[in-house]
Symmetry: C2
Subunit: 234 residues, 2 copies
């Protein structure tokens, strides 16, 4: 008897609708933002919601999440990680749906900020998040909490910044995520001590007259750092 015969045992079991919902974080240079979508259809039309979709027969959870993100933001290759699975029986008033929540960190530019509006979507600051359908509000709160814990231990903040960035920009990002001010001397010292940033010769002069040097993320150093069992802590 081979493995394929196991199918027999599964007959008679209940099948359930399974969905993926994505909490999409972005950073506009000033604060951390969350991408939400307005439902275009009844029921709950006009209410704010995370982006999500049902799982198709032939697609893994991770791939479904990736595809949702690609379709809703045009971005691929972004940081994407499972958050938690929500499975209360009555969580969806229509019919039972089990939802696997993912959160993602994306690089956001001015274009994105406006273009999403065409899809009835909007980037919200964390202090202006509207009421969300179902248990999406709960998902968002957990994602924020998880992000804060994670960003202190692993250098994932980079995913929210562009190809190059200045240390003051990065500090603003961290302050925005952690919701507290950081000392610039200590922040720079710490961040540079990991030795995963490379200084360039160019400066960003948009934020000051003196200008701040651009740095780029050094993937080789970073991988080495991870391989050695990293110890990142802000």
């Amino acid at each position: 008897m081979n493995l394929l015969d196991t199918a027999r045992v599964y007959t008679g079991q209940t099948k359930i609708l399974v969905a993926v919902d994505c909490i999409v974080f972005g950073f506009d240079g000033q604060q951390l933002k969350l991408l939400l979508f307005k439902r275009k259809v009844e029921p709950l039309k006009g209410q704010w919601s995370l982006i999500g979709a049902f799982i198709k027969e032939d697609m893994s959870l991770d791939d479904s999440a990736k595809q949702i993100l690609l379709e809703s933001t045009g971005l691929s290759n972004v940081f994407l990680e499972e958050l938690k699975t929500y499975g209360a029986v009555e969580r969806d008033p229509g019919e039972r749906v089990i939802s696997i929540a993912y959160y993602s960190l994306t690089r956001l530019n001015e274009l994105d900020l406006d273009s999403v509006e065409e899809y009835d979507a909007h980037w919200f600051g964390l202090d202006e998040i509207p009421e969300l359908i179902l248990d999406h509000g709960e998902m968002v709160q957990l994602a924020i909490k998880r992000l804060r814990e994670k960003v202190r231990r692993q250098p994932i903040g980079f995913n929210l910044l562009g190809e190059r960035f200045t240390l003051p920009q990065m500090q603003i990002l961290y302050e925005s995520i952690l919701q507290k001010e950081l000392d610039p001397r200590n922040f720079r010292k710490k961040m540079l001590s990991f030795d995963i940033l490379t200084k360039t010769r160019e400066k960003d002069k948009s934020a000051s007259k003196k200008g701040a040097f651009y740095y780029v993320f050094n993937k080789e150093k970073f991988d080495e750092f991870v391989a050695n069992g990293y110890n990142f802590e802000i």
Copy 2:
């Protein structure tokens, strides 16, 4: 129709089998153990596996996990937490099954050690885990990793000990989880500093002539500690 449009209607969406699998940890006083079950039925008869079950229509994921644990160990009110959801398309060769893995920490006594054998189950030391079916081995490895991280930051180790315990017992538990020796002075100092243990007047004399004082877990202090945004680190 692309993914973004699918939310509109639940009819016509694919329903999928959903299961819960439990990684059950126990501590026998010497080492951390894992509870595994031998499949009694074809196919895969005789192979080791985690305990699991399909989700029923009217039961939440958490409740399903609790029930599985109750049925397989007789224990309720144990530490139980979601680990990760496994959703690769081909992970189960029989038919597609999405599985939510939970891990639990249980109090284990000599009785349990033997009685589980009746159900074709066995407690394995972490260094003697046999090959497991499907992706269960992966689940176990992740659970061990998560437990190690978690036990350093949150005092969840208590769940593996009985009502009362001595500090040497507790140290052995932590050493067993973290797989490294700890200094007794530093360990006691640290553990007592959290102020969530209450010393009793009784001693455990089973392990030494001098005897070691029993301590009990102080839930009030612990809750207070948690409420203040705890900061537990071993």
